[in-house]
């Protein structure tokens, strides 16, 4: 059959756009965490405003995927790549939304109750590590890195539970203002969801490269 060099060049470009989107999302995540920790309302507003660009890029990539599916009728790895990228942008777009949620907490004056700062930031750092690994797996088509991201989700849940317990205990001991406690719990939930989206990205990369659909606990379905 005829060579599909042009189509494969378009696929490479699509991969580049997904990776560029992941860089935007990572920048938003870092900014949201910094805004939350430092109560930086200016930075928080920038993150919220910047989400429009993330949403727009996600839509553009989604349309590009649809176009390639319709016009090129891809199969095998090419098909998995396009379907995978379309799924990945959904997760990246939602990661951007969680960054916005955290930034909104900063905007209304979020504080960290009691001595839960360490627990929440441990969770935040863990999520940052997961996202960095997920991005690397996409850049290098690295299945091992993707599987590691998937497995790290369990630890993220444990850290989220520990952080929430710390916050609720601080609230019950009246060591934190209720508003701060609620915002911190919401931030906790945002980090936990971020970890879930990072794990999804890992699963998607495994699907793209290996054609294997992972179920709960990172096992092949």
């Amino acid at each position: 059959m005829e060579s599909r060099a042009h189509f494969h060049a378009e696929l490479d470009a699509l991969k580049g756009r997904v990776i560029a989107l992941s860089v935007l999302v990572e920048t938003a995540r870092q900014g949201a965490v910094a805004a939350y920790r430092q109560n930086d309302q200016t930075l928080a507003r920038q993150i919220i405003e910047g989400d429009k660009a993330i949403n727009q890029q996600a839509c553009d990539i989604d349309e590009a995927c649809l176009k390639l599916l319709a016009l090129e009728q891809p199969v095998a790895l090419d098909l998995r790549r396009i379907v995978g990228y379309a799924r990945a942008v959904i997760n990246l777009e939602r990661l951007g939304d969680e960054a916005v949620n955290i930034a909104e907490g900063a905007l209304v004056g979020a504080g960290l109750p009691g001595d839960c700062d360490g627990a929440l930031m441990e969770l935040s750092d863990h999520v940052a590590g997961m996202l960095a690994l997920a991005s690397r797996s996409f850049v290098e088509d690295d299945v091992d890195a993707a599987m590691d991201v998937c497995r790290l989700d369990e630890r993220a849940r444990e850290l989220a539970v520990a952080a929430m317990r710390c916050i609720t205990e601080a609230l019950s001991r009246c060591q934190a203002a209720p508003e701060d406690g609620v915002r911190a719990i919401l931030a906790c939930r945002s980090f936990e969801r971020m970890a879930g989206h990072a794990a999804n990205l890992g699963e998607i990369l495994v699907f793209i490269v290996k054609g294997v659909i992972l179920s709960q606990k990172c096992q092949p379905r």
């Binding site: 059959m1 005829e2 060579s3 009728q73 199969v75 095998a76 998995r80 054609g211």
Partner: protein, 253 residues
């Protein structure tokens, strides 16, 4: 649902003179399923198809080693009646090749050559075959017009009707839609889906999309070898072999 094996190649080698065109082919063709044979030009897929009803016997200097089985019986033996084999294993070619006769006589031809003289039987068989080939409603008022006046797509369906009239058990199709426009191709593909209710079909195609649309099983040939065979869905979503992946995604060939 399990389908029994209708035809099979067992350690099949095929030679054009000293050139080995097929090497150690082991492939089972399940009954009442469509098996697509894909691969780049010169990979041996059409040669393999023609081994199934010994059309290659018509080429001087060819020989086979190993076995081709029909219902478990070896057919590549000199003692076998080739005419009877080809009645059971019919063939449709790339270019429609109707005889310069009427539509009716084209379909009746095989029956007459086979010694059938009962006019009522021939008439009913012609009608039945044209219906099976999805052509009857289009030609029923001009059965005695020349077949050469039909469009390319109609001519190809007439050739299918001609093959079906002999009530074969297996239909071999060698790129049956490659000379047709998209609408005629679509009709042939719809027809294949209907025909597999009653016939075992093996089809050679250069169109990946066609193989994906019409077949249940896909076999990928490369340089005379069978590289991979499996459910069509698996071949086109997650092939096990890297060569298959590279071929179906257009990275070579």
């Amino acid at each position: 649902m399990q389908h029994s094996v209708k035809m099979a190649a067992v350690d099949l080698d095929f030679y054009y003179g000293r050139f080995k065109a097929l090497e150690s082919i082991n492939l089972e063709i399940p009954e009442r399923r469509v098996t697509a044979l894909i691969g780049p030009s010169g990979c041996g897929k059409s040669t393999f198809l023609r081994c199934l009803n010994r059309m290659n016997d018509l080429i001087a200097g060819t020989r086979t080693e190993g076995a081709v089985l029909l219902d478990g019986v070896k057919v590549n033996v000199p003692s076998l009646d080739v005419v009877e084999l080809r009645r059971k294993v019919g063939m449709v070619f790339q270019k429609p090749n109707p005889f310069p006769k009427t539509i009716f006589e084209n379909v009746a031809y095989g029956l007459r050559v086979g010694g059938v003289t009962d006019r009522n039987y021939i008439s009913s068989q012609v009608e039945k075959s044209l219906i099976a080939a999805g052509l009857f409603t289009e030609v029923k008022d001009r059965l005695h017009d020349s077949a050469l006046g039909l469009s390319g797509g109609q001519q190809q369906r007439l050739c299918i009707a001609r093959a079906v009239a002999l009530e074969p058990e297996v239909l071999l199709m060698d790129e049956p839609a490659s000379a047709l426009d998209p609408i005629a191709t679509q009709k042939i593909e719809e027809l294949i889906a209907e025909l597999k209710r009653n016939y075992t079909i093996a089809i050679v195609t250069h169109s990946m999309q066609q193989a994906a649309r019409v077949s249940d099983l896909t076999a990928f040939f490369y340089m005379g070898k069978l590289v991979e065979v499996g459910p069509t869905e698996a071949i086109f979503t997650r092939p096990a072999n890297q060569q298959t992946e590279d071929y179906v995604t257009g990275r070579f060939g």
